[in-house]
Symmetry: C2
Subunit: 380 residues, 2 copies
């Protein structure tokens, strides 16, 4: 069975020497824009491409603006600070995520609390979230308190796994009813819309990533997006060392961060973003080919876009019926040059997060040993 699937994947990527999981492709103005950076010497902290990318990204997503930063982790960290997360607070997120989500929470001095994911979306389960928060009370200052620890639950970070939108309407409704801010980790979901709204713009603030394995890349990069201009203004200040505007004076008014995206990375991002509609189209075609193929394969389920999500199909995923089958397929595909990978080890199984509070993890545990991501990169 593995052999047949591997052949099919090779057929989808016919003519490719290496069938990577998600290699970037450069068919636009990348070299031209990079050359312009060198010729104008504007490669670093200021430059036209940073401004242009922030405008273009806002325009593509429908945000009122965006702030380009050095990577998705930095964007998450900034978003958490801006929603008021402080040392000793708690932040809800899913256990089934890339480690950056939990790490960024730790950087603020807060503790992550892990919620299970739902089987239909692979993202934070709104039913288990509601059950967890029903036990929490609002204190006299309007803060939601975890009765187990007495700590304030300040924010919730759903992650749009593999580019499929989380159950945002329910999550936002539940969180806001408890005065909890919602940060959307949309690192994987650039191009994904939820009921017509771009992911990242449904909660209070959204975070994107342009790492090399993402749908578009700036080498390393990330961004904050929002419909709230005030929060973006604060994000810009905080990510540029909180320097007060002055022609020559170096003065800073809070502890800031050196998180701005360099102009040379923004140049790459601009060229890539110009191609995104073509990329999204090809990714949808690839997903359609996989969907049709796996419909014919017994005991393997192709994970399709959930209700309300027009997904970017960042990484296509198949679900085996057992861990044994998953492991066999991982071994055989990687050995034959078709790069596949399992989902991340869930956060509650990592040493440093194993003692964090969590809901029961039935879905996370069941899925994490059976999912495989298969090659999903744009072809040309």
């Amino acid at each position: 069975m593995s052999k047949e699937i591997i052949s099919f994947i090779k057929e989808i990527y016919r003519g490719w020497r290496d069938v990577n999981l998600h290699a970037p492709i450069f068919v636009g103005n990348e070299i031209a824009y990079l050359t312009k950076c060198i010729e104008t010497t504007m490669v670093s902290s200021v430059g036209q491409f940073v401004d242009q990318f922030e405008r273009d990204l806002a325009s593509f997503t429908g945000a009122s603006g965006s702030v380009a930063v050095v990577n998705g982790t930095a964007a998450l960290h900034t978003a958490l600070i801006l929603t008021g997360v402080k040392p000793g607070d708690e932040v809800l997120t899913q256990s089934l995520t890339f480690v950056a989500t939990a790490n960024a929470i730790s950087y603020t001095g807060a503790k992550p609390v892990f919620i299970d994911v739902s089987e239909d979306r692979l993202s934070l389960c709104s039913v288990k979230l509601e059950a967890f928060l029903n036990k929490c009370k609002i204190d006299s200052e309007g803060n939601c308190r975890n009765p187990q620890t007495g700590n304030i639950i300040r924010a919730c970070v759903p992650m749009h796994t593999f580019g499929h939108a989380a159950d945002m309407d329910a999550i936002v409704r539940i969180c806001h009813s408890k005065n909890i801010k919602v940060i959307e980790d949309a690192a994987e979901s650039l191009g994904t819309r939820y009921n017509g709204v771009h992911t990242g713009l449904i909660g209070d603030i959204g975070v994107l990533s342009f790492n090399g394995n993402k749908i578009i890349t700036s080498g390393g990069g990330g961004a904050l997006i929002s419909t709230d201009g005030d929060i973006l203004k604060k994000a810009k200040h905080l990510t540029t060392t909180a320097k007060k505007a002055h022609a020559w004076k170096y003065e800073h008014d809070v502890i800031g961060y050196n998180y701005r995206m360099p102009n040379i990375n923004a140049a790459l991002a601009c060229a890539q973003l110009e191609c995104i509609n073509d990329f999204l189209k090809d990714k949808r075609t690839i997903a359609e080919q996989y969907r049709a193929y796996f419909a014919t394969i017994p005991d393997i389920k192709f994970f399709d876009e959930p209700l309300g999500s027009k997904s970017n199909f960042w990484l296509n995923s198949i679900i085996f019926s057992s861990e044994r089958d998953q492991q066999r397929f991982l071994e055989e595909s990687n050995a034959s040059g078709v790069i596949t990978r399992p989902i991340w080890v869930p956060m509650h199984k990592l040493d440093m997060y194993s003692k964090c509070e969590r809901t029961e993890m039935a879905v996370t545990d069941a899925l994490s040993s059976r999912i495989v991501n298969i090659p999903s990169g744009v072809r040309s």
Copy 2:
């Protein structure tokens, strides 16, 4: 007087449209290497240029290795964690520094303690450091305790201001006698040697920056250097999300950081580093021109390289005899297209650090209102 100095600076940069403080110049393989990144699609987290830059940088500085990261602030933060700095600790540094030094200390949850600088080096004053540490005692576990607060003083971060080496022999001797680790903030001193040893390699670990205003640039970038291979291995792990090595499994063993330098930035860094000896030579020539000129100007002192320091002359500095003269020169030079700037507002005068413990600040206060950095970029 200002007019005459401005004319002299314009003469040094004859033929330049804008006389910036320190613009990068690109006369090597920059475009070729960037193009190679695009053609091979290796722009992000792995790639040959990251490896090559880490090797070339080690070779140039004489380090046993180096770890390329996203910027100097990230390198400082990593160095502090690796020397064991923890929340509640204290870290000594100079008040006269760029804000990144103090911010990185804050990121660890430690508190900065500010030491004055010395007039002859503009960097952390070893005499005042010794006086401060003489009041501190080693506890039964070997930690140096601040008697005022009872906290552990874990590390000391001298910064090689404007590329002139700090008084490293004394600083290392004093700190090591109190079991305090020494992190050299060599962000400004790539190419500067202290008694023949590259700055960053005298203490326990060194930190470099390749921001756009530095002697070489990678757009944004930084590095850790050391003669201790073990600490570099740990730095690599910590700055690459602490992911355990595995062909496809995503597992992480500590709270790590997404601090690695993208390959596209490393490509730029490689091309720039190939030119550094030429850059250092021209910067020395510029310093010689300024030295000779300001020797003829009354009431203005050219800041020259201190004892034992073969400086990179990153930013040439002149010292006025009054704040009034400094302010007038800043106004007139910037108004006439010759970009100059004062030294940073000292850390103990910034709101967020104004309550931190400090030594008396006679030299910092006197100098910070009288120094001006003048254009110092390489010419061709």
